[in-house]
Assembly symmetry: C2
Homo-oligomer: 258 residues x 2
DNA sequence: GCATTATTTAGTAAATTTTACAAAATGAAG
DNA sequence: CTTCATTTTGTAAAATTTACTAAATAATGC
């Protein structure tokens, strides 16, 4: 089956493999060099941007469907993925940007009202965080673009995806205070400055340069290694690593950062 | 259309009015007199207990579907309803308790594999809290029982509802620390003792009798009224009420109880 | 009336945590 | 071997939490 055949099969009979009426959407936040971005895609048949997402295979758990989507768009596997909210307002899919001609040009199929893709869909929102410099954004066959947007320069999004981004960002920031985040975002060994600027970037908030790392160390989350990093004409900072046992415990039990 | 006709219509053509493959389930917590309970139902055709739930009308928002279910089972409207998680594991609906003969006796319809009710379903979990003494549990036509169970004496539940209750309880307790709860659970005017024991019951945890109310007052959440309640041979406690503006602000912005 | 009593409130001191800031340590560069 | 930017430790003040004491109070029973 070539790609075109596969696409036709999906459009006409996708409901055999995927659950109709339910999708997942992913707000993938990208961090690098004190910048915070979000990954958006532009479908070939929709004249507007939206969050990457897709249907759920009948054999998949929700988070696995989200992980598959994240991997397809970024090439990255094993990210911290968190369900944040499910969206189901009756009018959430309203868009005037669907271009029937572009759809036909792409698929060779006229969309009919009885097609399984047309009906009302509830969507489960997940967010993820990654280092965007490690990603290789892939539009895939349905999209013409897949791009990182600065968090402050997000265009108006299709469907209810504006609200999704807002909710995802809110949940992510609340959870930053209650769960350790960084295991997938920082190299195995990193400096206190690295993790400090990671949190400052994600929260868009100043955190005391002296007290913040102290807190992490007091909580037992970080362990000092014997190595140092040479950063030029200054004092070389120690390298730290997460105490995995303590980190996982904090993930399941929660903690309180201030 | 009589009730039986309506039921048949639902089974055979419900997908016209309801969205297939998606449902909501409600963990309705009941509080009264320092007891914490949860409302369970026993379907006529399932030999086990489970959470009340149902399908979503095509015209409804998710929370409206949950509210409709809560009202149908308890008679109470306008409860604080909170989405806590969506469940979609492929094997979540596994049960050996479905009794085909009881189903046929109830509905007069043989369940066929192509029926819209049979296929895999994703369920959006909501929790609610109410004063169970104000409720009038209604089994409805599908269930033979609808009963409050003490939180420590919950039977094993069908499907993945054991996990749902656990998650709902966890979310409820986390949110108790971050949002004010009580507006729907206490009469308009109540004593500091009332709200103190409400929180102790929901959290199953001792809260200092002197410091806890002080915190609520300091946060501006409570306002003292001029009235007092006569409780017998003791000092009469003042009646308080929520400062609605401050309460709503705390609901949207969050707060921190310790 | 008036002492008794159980409970509600207010008060406060100690303990702890957070915050803000100062100063010392460090290591490369000139 | 001094300078410098940055990391790291130290610490004092401020704020909050916690634990406990004591005062206020209102009905009751004598």
């Amino acid at each position: 089956m070539n790609i075109n055949e596969e696409l036709k099969e999906f459009i006409l009979h996708g409901y055999r493999q995927y659950i109709p009426h339910v999708s997942i959407d992913c707000a993938i936040f990208g961090y690098h060099d004190r910048q915070l971005k979000v990954l958006l895609i532009k479908h070939k048949f929709l004249n507007g941007w939206c969050l990457p997402g897709g249907y759920i295979k009948r054999t998949e758990k929700l988070v696995e469907a989200a992980g598959r989507n994240v991997k397809e768009r970024t090439g990255i596997e094993g990210l911290f993925l968190q369900q944040f909210k499910t969206f189901g307002d009756p009018n959430r899919a309203n868009t005037d940007k669907f271009d029937e001609e572009k759809w036909f040009a792409l698929t060779g199929i006229r969309m009919t009202p009885d097609n399984w893709l047309v009906d009302q869909t509830i969507s489960v929102g997940f967010y993820a965080i990654t280092d965007f410099s490690l990603s290789v954004p892939q539009p895939g066959i349905m999209a013409e673009a897949c791009t990182w947007f600065d968090i402050h320069a997000i265009p108006h999004l299709e469907f209810d995806h504006d609200e999704m981004v807002k909710e995802a960002l809110h949940t992510m920031r609340v959870q930053l205070y209650h769960y350790p985040i960084g295991y997938n975002l920082l190299p195995e060994k990193f400096t206190l400055s690295d993790i400090h600027s990671l949190y400052e970037t994600l929260l868009e908030k100043k955190l005391d340069i002296s007290n913040f790392p102290k807190k992490l160390i007091t909580l037992g989350l970080l362990k000092k290694t014997t190595e140092k990093r040479n950063i030029g004409a200054h004092r070389s900072p120690h390298l730290y690593r997460f105490d995995k046992a303590r980190y996982d415990q904090a993930l399941s039990e929660g903690l309180v950062l201030s």
